[in-house]
């Protein structure tokens, strides 16, 4: 076969691949729940990005106190009411979503960025590097993540940045473990061994053959980790170990509203619901993607 034929074949394969990916995406959105989840997610992300333009009271969203309007229920001035300091709840929620979404994103991406290369290494070099990485992973995973994060936050001083770092530390080993398992299971497959025999270098094989194969499970895991990451940030900030007032943060807002739960219930319920909706949307979308991909790999 000539070079030209190979090129045509490769182009055709790439086109097939793109078509298949579009088909899978259509399959994901065939389920209305997944579509709704995607819509909610995009709305929330947009609101977080354009918070200063969307929030009705941007200054209060950032923390400005407005004692004249304390503890007001929902009205046309304040669609979701006001909190203990008279701040507009809607603005606080929109500003708070920045913390949740941004924090969740950093945790998941950083955990994957640390965990995946280590997993590749541990899976590909099963000798001493693999053993060391495995031991470290086991040690970190043998302890409850949130408790570890609490300890780190206390030592390093409470704040958004420490909370996020404190959560990344117990989070990355999950990715290492996932990737390590995947690599070990595919590296003995014929096409990988054949590439080795053809004289391709380790790095080439690692990135050309192994990485693309583990990317799908990693992405699914990242999507499914978003919800737990957001909840974990909330768990820390609820105890005052995360974002500090007067910044808006959903977990902190629930804490501030907790003493008033019986009278001004909305102060705690509104941020709680916001968190619940965001996490549910992530979980629904992640579950559906996983479902479609597993159907696909079975066919």
């Amino acid at each position: 076969m000539s070079d030209l034929d190979f090129k045509q074949l490769a182009e055709k394969a790439a086109a097939d691949h793109r078509r298949h990916r579009r088909y899978l995406l259509r399959l994901v959105f065939k389920k209305r729940a997944a579509l709704a989840a995607a819509a909610i997610l995009s709305l929330m992300v947009l609101a977080a990005v354009f918070a200063p333009w969307i929030a009705p009271y941007p200054d209060q969203g950032k923390g400005e106190v407005n004692l004249a309007d304390r503890l007001q229920p929902a009205s046309f001035n304040h669609y979701l009411g006001t909190d203990v300091y008279g701040r507009d709840m809607l603005s606080r929620i929109i500003y708070g979503s920045r913390i949740s979404i941004f924090g969740g994103l950093i945790i998941v991406v950083a955990a994957a960025l640390i965990g995946v290369p280590l997993g590749l290494l541990a899976g590909y070099r099963e000798g001493i590097p693999g053993a060391i990485i495995t031991r470290v992973v086991e040690l970190v995973l043998s302890f409850p993540a949130v408790l570890l994060a609490m300890g780190i936050s206390i030592v390093a001083g409470a704040g958004f940045a420490t909370a996020v770092i404190a959560l990344i530390i117990p989070w990355w080993p999950w990715y290492t473990r996932l990737v390590q398992g995947e690599v070990i299971s595919i590296k003995h497959m014929l096409y990988v061994e054949a590439a080795g025999m053809l004289g391709y270098g380790r790095v080439y094989i690692l990135f050309r053959h192994l990485l693309p194969n583990i990317l799908t499970p990693v992405i699914v895991m990242m999507l499914l980790d978003f919800g737990p990451a957001i909840i974990s940030i909330g768990l820390l900030s609820f105890l005052g170990l995360g974002t500090q007032p007067p910044q808006a943060d959903w977990g902190l807002m629930v804490w501030e509203g907790a003493p008033n739960i019986l009278n001004q219930w909305w102060i705690a319920v509104v941020p709680g619901c916001a968190m619940f909706i965001l996490v549910t949307a992530f979980n629904l979308f992640g579950d559906r993607l996983k479902e479609v991909l597993s159907i696909d790999s079975n066919q």
């Binding site: 409850p144 408790l147 030592v155 968190m275 619940f276």
Partner: protein
Amino acid sequence: MSLVPFLSRRLIGLAVMLVALSALVFFFSRSIPGDVAAMYIGGMAKPEQIERARQELGLDQPLTLQYVKYMKKLLSGDLGISLRTHRPVFQDLLEKIPMSMEVVLWAIALAMVLGIGFGGLAALRQGTWIDEGIKWLSSAAVSIPIFFLALLLQLIFFNLLGWFPLQGRIDTFLEFSNPLELVTGFSLIDSLLTGNHAAFFNVAWHMVLPVLSLIAYPLGLITRLTRSSLLEVMSQDYILAARASGIRESVLFFRYGLRNALSPVLTVVGLSVALTLLATFYVEIIFNWPGIGYYALTAILSLDYPVLMGVTLMIGTVYVVANTSMDILRRIVDPRIK
């Protein structure tokens, strides 16, 4: 197959982990800015008082020596003295653990039974509205933050419906008329043992909302896993072969399928114990339940390091014990696990 080598390996693992953990917590908590001795004395202390306390607590010695001393005492069950309450930490833990474990064990047991039941039902009725409903509910259960759920339950069941008490472990007047006698520390068992029925029902009534809050997450997790694990099993060759030999569908599902599907579910049950223990921190603050969570949290926030050490070591131990016992169960359920 013998369990002895397996258990001894686990025991060594536990010891190694506890040493690593205690070192980590010890040096971490002592590197926090703040004067431990001053905190021990509290309030307005004179410098010489603080100096005396420092010597009393051995704080003037090098940190590594302090750690070695701490570990020596630990072996004899001495966890030191709380800086805040000045009581032995070990005694405090012994008193608080049963109160929390009572709630945690109820939550885990119920979550396991209900989760396997719901998950099995969803798999059995795959694709029907029952399956969809269970899927939605279990998704919601793992998506709701524990502190929000606890507040929501208070709002609905106390404020709106008035069915359950807002917080506490027992009504104040019962504490005087029918006080709980301490036998095992588990209040439900104690009240039954001493024939204190009024207290039994009152404590059970107070326990409903905390248990409900704690159940949600493990229940959702176990339900989802049972469903997917069972569906995976039901598509295996041996189920097809059993069906081809004329075995009843209900036997196939509940005797064959469930037994095969149980092993990954048990792993998650083990993990749930530690997660739920952590969740009690939140539930105990919100419901004012006098357990280990409440105790630990005040220690965390006030940097009471002996308590912090004690609680961490305890949770680490519970974590390992829970996982090990689930591993033993898995080996009984599934002979393939080496």
